[in-house]
């Protein structure tokens, strides 16, 4: 048995937020109770975690592990290692591998890799369409049988509304949520940044907020028509937020996520040195899809996460090598690393009073567990698997390149000073 003493235990699934002891036995939570209420009988390992926070292991519903096909960027092993270092005990990799995860064989391969890595739990996301080409349905049922927990064509949005409707109808039979990267490809074509002050300054074609708004509205309409669970990936606009709020008021099964970078950054981050000093190339390590939006959008996302209109935080961990980033801005790949920076960034928002502790933890545990249908995870209730994370909210550190265990190092947060760190991560009763 492992005894974790004197930590502040925060578990939104059971409404706990108090100084408590946690007892782990044979891979499951045996009990969570008042400090000192367990005697030492059978305790092989005991930790005094006074000053620390214990939460259910975090769940990231949106990562890219790049295996198979892009192992020079990341593998299931290195991505899972980044996950547990970052406090995540469960991750859901997107299907844009090569070959695409659009059939049970690829799903099984990813799960095999995850088993041999033996780090985080991996719940693959299957493609909506074969090859993510937006033409024919992927083998959704066979993948579901193998273990996928959601469907998405992510960065290759399904533009054909009739096909998306069929996908939702089909997904409903297997109770799989359909995750949408809401982007109208015609409006965003050729636009590597948001349309706004910065794109105007730099002369780049801009991706307008309407590109997201239109597709969020479509997904909500199709959700209403089919009853399927619809999840909006990485919301980036205030208009998208408003539509999700209304859909929830209508009682539709619509959920939404936001990334830490859309909460922490905005279009001005592209300009080294902020608004003033700008005779530089826009920074490719801030290039992502959806793009960083305006300050007003950033503010709306923060408020929506705080209020629960946005259900959860997902990292959109997107490893890319320097060959993909040390190039012209238009040619640079979209996306940044996220697994090891999500928690420290959210702790900044807690420190600033933007988010409460319980809301932050809920957005990383209960909400993503519900989305993926993981009834036993994201909780510290007795009898559930012992997936948990230990945080020290007071430790200050500067993120160094060598701290990142991913194969890639495309993080704009290298060099940033943080307060609050992931100390330990436990998956199924084992420290990872």
């Amino acid at each position: 048995m492992i005894r974790l003493k004197n930590a502040r235990v925060i578990d939104p699934s059971s409404g706990l937020d108090a100084k408590l002891d946690v007892l782990v036995e044979q891979g499951v939570i045996r009990a969570v109770d008042r400090p000192g209420s367990f005697d030492g009988t059978g305790v092989a390992e005991s930790h005094d975690l006074n000053g620390c926070v214990i939460a259910p292991g975090f769940i990231d519903v949106h990562v890219h592990l790049r295996e198979p096909g892009f192992e020079h960027k990341e593998t299931v092993h290195t991505g899972s290692l980044a996950a547990v270092r970052g406090g995540f005990t469960s991750i859901a990799p997107m299907a844009n591998t090569d070959p695409v995860n659009d059939n049970a064989i690829v799903t099984r391969f990813i799960l095999d890799r995850a088993r041999s890595a033996n780090l985080a739990r991996v719940f693959p996301i299957g493609a909506v369409t074969k090859g993510q080409k937006g033409e024919e349905l992927a083998e959704i049922g066979l993948m579901a049988k193998e273990g996928i927990r959601a469907l998405s064509d992510d960065g290759m949005p399904v533009m054909n509304s009739a096909l998306m409707r069929r996908a939702m109808e089909y997904a409903r039979m297997f109770d799989l949520p359909v995750i949408s990267h809401a982007e109208d490809a015609a409006l965003s074509k050729g636009a590597p940044m948001t349309e706004g002050a910065v794109s105007s300054l730099l002369g780049y074609p801009g991706n307008p907020n309407a590109s997201e708004e239109i597709m969020v509205a479509r997904e909500i309409a199709l959700c209403r028509a089919t009853g399927a669970r619809v999840h909006l990936a990485h919301l980036s606009t205030r208009e998208g937020v408003a539509l999700v709020r209304r859909a929830k008021e209508d009682g539709l099964p619509v959920t939404a996520e936001v990334t830490p970078h859309h909460l922490m950054l905005n279009e001005f981050s592209l300009l080294r040195g902020g608004h003033e000093c700008v005779h530089h190339q826009p920074r490719t390590d801030y290039k992502m899809a959806p793009p960083l939006r305006s300050e007003q959008d950033q503010e709306a996302l923060r408020e929506a996460l705080r209020s629960g209109v946005i259900d959860l935080v997902a990292s959109d961990h997107a490893p890319h090598g320097c060959v993909d980033k040390e190039v012209e801005f238009e040619l640079a790949a979209n996306g940044i690393l996220g697994l090891q920076t999500t928690v420290p960034l959210l702790l900044e928002l807690v420190e600033q009073g933007v988010l409460s502790w319980s809301r932050m933890i809920e957005s990383l545990t209960l909400a993503p567990a519900r989305l993926l249908g993981l009834r036993d995870l994201g909780t510290l209730q007795a009898g559930k698997p012992a997936d948990l994370v230990v945080l020290d909210p007071k430790v200050e550190f500067t993120l160094r390149r060598e701290d990142l265990v991913s194969i890639s190092e495309n993080s704009p947060f290298i060099g940033r000073k943080f307060k609050g760190k992931v100390l330990k991560t436990m998956v199924g009763g084992d420290w990872k």
Partner: protein, 311 residues
């Protein structure tokens, strides 16, 4: 002091920008005495996006300063074979190059090259971002036409420039806005909304009107931009005739201008589209002066950055 690079107008001190123009004035007055400034120096004409006249202008400027040029042709280069921009430029650097003049379709890429090579880089146009020497030659030409005192810290005070056309995709416009503002002048933009810069919040003082007729009688110079059919303008304006009717510099429209106000065009012109032939050939159109002054200001820029000239 001059900067190490000229990749943008924005971010360079107004006095420095004025010093490029003052140096140009000296060179124009006595070009012979600058004929050995780049002796023994080699300038790479790194035109990743094709261009004929800007490249020839830079080559002429290099030669008139006594330097040599190496030209790069994107269409036949290793970039077509998948080599990255930085690998390409680092390889060429080994041939013995003292400075890089660069044109590229992606905004900001001259800075990427400047950081990677450590050589002086002059931006000859990057995407729709900036085209600093074009703005310098425009300002130089207008300063001549207006008789502006370049020793004055804000020589364009009280002067208004109207730019008509596709400002959205115009690097000429962006550089001109920054330079004109630095020299104390005011810029007004006009063009179809499908081709207008959408958000001017980072261009303080710049105004936008849909139709030039609203302001054309009150400005001190007009610049017509080329309608770039090669950049997919067909889907952004209904027809050439419609464009000419509302935004073209027709004789009738020009007759409403102040009599002293000159007309500029960065070239190449589409006669009968953004500018009528009669207007292009009239005395107030300074198109050929712009071309001549282009070589002068490029001599000033290369002389300052590579040849160590002072204002």
């Amino acid at each position: 002091m001059f900067p190490d690079h000229l990749t943008t107008i924005r971010g360079i001190a107004p006095d420095t920008l004025r010093n490029f123009l003052r140096l140009g004035k000296k060179i124009k007055a006595d070009p012979a005495s600058f004929s050995t400034v780049l002796k023994g120096k080699t300038v790479l004409q790194f035109f990743v996006e094709n261009s004929t006249r800007t490249r020839m202008s830079f080559e002429a400027a290099t030669r008139r300063l006594g330097g040599a040029s190496i030209a790069f042709a994107a269409a036949t280069s290793s970039l077509q074979k998948g080599e990255t921009l930085l690998d390409t430029v680092r390889v060429i650097q080994q041939y013995g190059v003292d400075a890089i003049v660069m044109r590229h379709s992606s905004g900001g890429s001259p800075d990427l090259v400047a950081r990677a090579t450590g050589l002086p880089v002059v931006n000859a146009g990057d995407g729709s971002h900036e085209h600093p020497t074009q703005a310098l030659l425009d300002a130089f030409t207008l300063a001549e036409a207006w008789g502006s005192d370049l020793d004055h810290s804000k020589p364009f005070t009280g002067r208004r420039l109207l730019i008509i056309g596709d400002t959205l995709q115009s690097r000429v416009t962006r550089s001109n806005i920054h330079l004109f503002s630095a020299l104390g002048g005011e810029v007004i933009l006009s063009g179809p909304r499908t081709l207008a810069i959408r958000d001017l919040s980072l261009f303080p003082g710049v105004k936008k009107v849909d139709f030039p007729d609203e302001v054309i009688g009150e400005v001190d110079a007009v610049m017509a931009l080329r309608i770039q059919f090669e950049r997919g303008h067909k889907s952004l304006i209904p027809s050439v005739e419609e464009y000419r009717t509302f935004w073209g510099l027709t004789e009738e429209r020009v007759s409403k201008m102040k009599t002293s106000a000159p007309i500029l065009h960065p070239g190449p012109m589409n006669r009968g589209v953004e500018i009528d032939p009669e207007v292009a050939d009239s005395a107030r159109a300074l198109v050929l002066d712009q071309v001549e002054n282009g070589v002068i200001v490029r001599m000033a820029v290369l002389g300052a950055l590579v040849g160590g000239l002072r204002a």
